[in-house]
Symmetry: C2
DNA sequence: CTGAAAGCGCTAACAG
DNA sequence: CTGTTAGCGCTTTCAG
């Protein structure tokens, strides 16, 4: 049934029906008539027609690098909650860490098929800036600050600082660093800086050979831990940029007789479930992923409501979760999810 | 720019432009003219207008209970791959295990806003059947069989059987069971049956007090393990319906001096990352989530192409991954993801 | 092979 | 407060 048929059935004009559904002026009497007819017929306006006519789709695109990453999944859950509550639909693009798919996704936007975008950030290229700047839609960058755009991010530098300081304050003096590519501002660059801040504050020199770069997974953490620890056997504590990497490092220690935390303390950022239940539960810094997702969605909705809202950057805090990998907690504590 | 302006620019009729984009009859000369004009202007048809006109949206809805579950996330990745490749967009609804949100999502479908649905199954109520049957869209049920509908599922019964048998074949004679609600056919009922099959085959009687039901998380696994093991301290092996539950049980053992696998062997289904790196790596049965997602999407696309395709049920296999929780592998083996 | 014309279902001026 | 009217941008008969 379309609006014309429905209007005839209800004995009112099409305009009245439209007003009914869009909150326009309408006498009580007509309102009641239409309500009754809706009840009887189950009529509702066609979203497609509304989209075409109003040029608004009530759909939001979320672009992310990897869905099966706990942090991404939690952010999307937060986004989904808010979008759902506000009658928006969530269109998902999983780029599998593939820049070309990310670009393809951004091209989707040229087709005006969504009202706004939330981009879970990883590595920005100059190409990204070009494409993003050319979009006439509201864009929220989630996970790192990006000049000129709205963003919701974490205090990655502070988080890394806290994790590292926690080990140094326990008397460790030979810290190692297992990071990720600096092209990733949040997880790469900022966490590196936080690590360096902590060393500087503690008056511990940073030796060049004591750092290494891994990919975002356990296996790479294992391999890089191997490289690093064979080269620098004197390390007595290790900061890892992500929990996955820390778990890989922990596996290396386990299989090579390095005791954690006695011989080597380990900390990380992310506070993942796997890290909490690992062989030695890993001291990690919790970032508030779900909250970040929620805030990003709320920020986007604000911009949708008022396009003249100023760009803003929200930075969320963090919480250190001390566990056995720094000699802190008995195994069964501090394990369950938030 | 719209089709009218573009047609004028290219010096052809609107119909010619439409045929160009939809593969209709067109002389080579016009085709070339239009191609050049597209190149020059970047014109592309409006998806909204096409949706309204053709009544096809090229969007697929995926409904799932919990995004931050490794299994769900992997399934969605598989779905996303296939959809992407075929030019379909993925609309996501995360119900947070909330039946009312699931119903709300299904109502979205009445609005004709998508071409098809993939429902990651958990618990089906009579209400589900009513709503699903009333839909005129292709629906694929992912994760369990559901009479009358297309589905892609796992051999949960076989998986549970394999995991249980693995322990019994090592001489264990007092098996316990930590399951989930039987309302969930795949994870609840079928895995329970597989467990029972294994006992029957081995001639081991199933004692009523040796089973317990948990929720889908570690904490509940811990609690139920506590209840079960205090009541039945003679258990020498434990099958858990999910890895999360098994990890909870393992934590309980760790904190109560129960040695795994010496005192108690543990197995589960799911083969999650957390289980692989746990204190004692957990012997688990791998299900092929990503593949299942892919197959579901492919099945849906087939039905979209030819609505008269017969309903079919694809059942995927499984693979036992023996690890330390059954005394099988050295800690560092068998850990990395597929 | 081609173009004209008739809508898809709806909203938003506009004139009452 | 209300109905009429003119499209949103496109596809698809239909008659050449």
């Amino acid at each position: 049934m379309n609006i014309t048929e429905f209007a005839a059935y209800a004995g009112v004009s099409k305009a009245a029906v439209s007003r009914y559904f869009n909150g326009g002026y309408l006498s009580e009497e007509k309102r009641a008539r239409i309500a009754a007819a809706v009840e009887a017929t189950g009529y509702h306006p066609s979203l497609q027609a509304q989209m075409l006519r109003t040029r608004r789709t009530r759909q939001v695109l979320v672009i992310l690098p990897k869905l099966s990453s706990e942090s991404c999944a939690r952010m999307v859950e937060g986004i989904s909650d808010v979008l759902d509550q506000n009658g928006y639909q969530l269109l998902l693009v999983n780029t599998s860490n593939d820049s070309s798919r990310e670009v393809a996704a951004l091209n989707l936007l040229q087709q005006n098929t969504v009202d706004g975008v939330i981009l879970i950030a990883t590595i920005f290229t100059p190409e990204h800036r070009t494409v993003l700047a050319s979009l006439r839609l509201p864009v929220i960058i989630l996970g790192q600050e990006y000049p000129g755009f709205c963003s919701v991010s974490h205090d990655d530098r502070g988080a890394a600082h806290a994790a590292t300081t926690h080990m140094l304050s326990k008397g460790r003096t030979a810290p190692g660093f297992l990071g990720v590519t600096m092209l990733d501002k949040a997880a790469g660059l900022d966490r590196r800086r936080g690590f360096e801040d902590a060393l500087r504050e503690a008056g511990v020199p940073l030796r060049p050979g004591r750092t290494s770069i891994a990919a975002f997974n356990m296996e790479s953490g294992y391999e890089q831990a191997s490289t690093l620890l064979e080269r620098e056997p004197s390390l007595d504590c290790l900061f890892c940029a992500t929990d996955s990497i820390a778990i890989g490092a922990l596996q290396y220690c386990r299989s090579h007789g390095i005791r954690v935390p006695e011989d080597l303390m380990i900390t990380a950022v992310g506070d993942s479930e796997a890290g909490r239940v690992a062989y030695v539960p890993i001291t990690s810094v919790q970032l508030h992923y779900r909250t970040a997702g929620r805030m990003a969605a709320e920020m986007l909705l604000e911009h949708l409501a008022d396009p003249h809202t100023k760009p803003e950057n929200q930075v969320l805090g963090y919480a250190l979760r001390p566990r056995a990998s720094t000699g802190d907690a008995s195994p069964e504590e501090n394990i369950w999810a938030e």
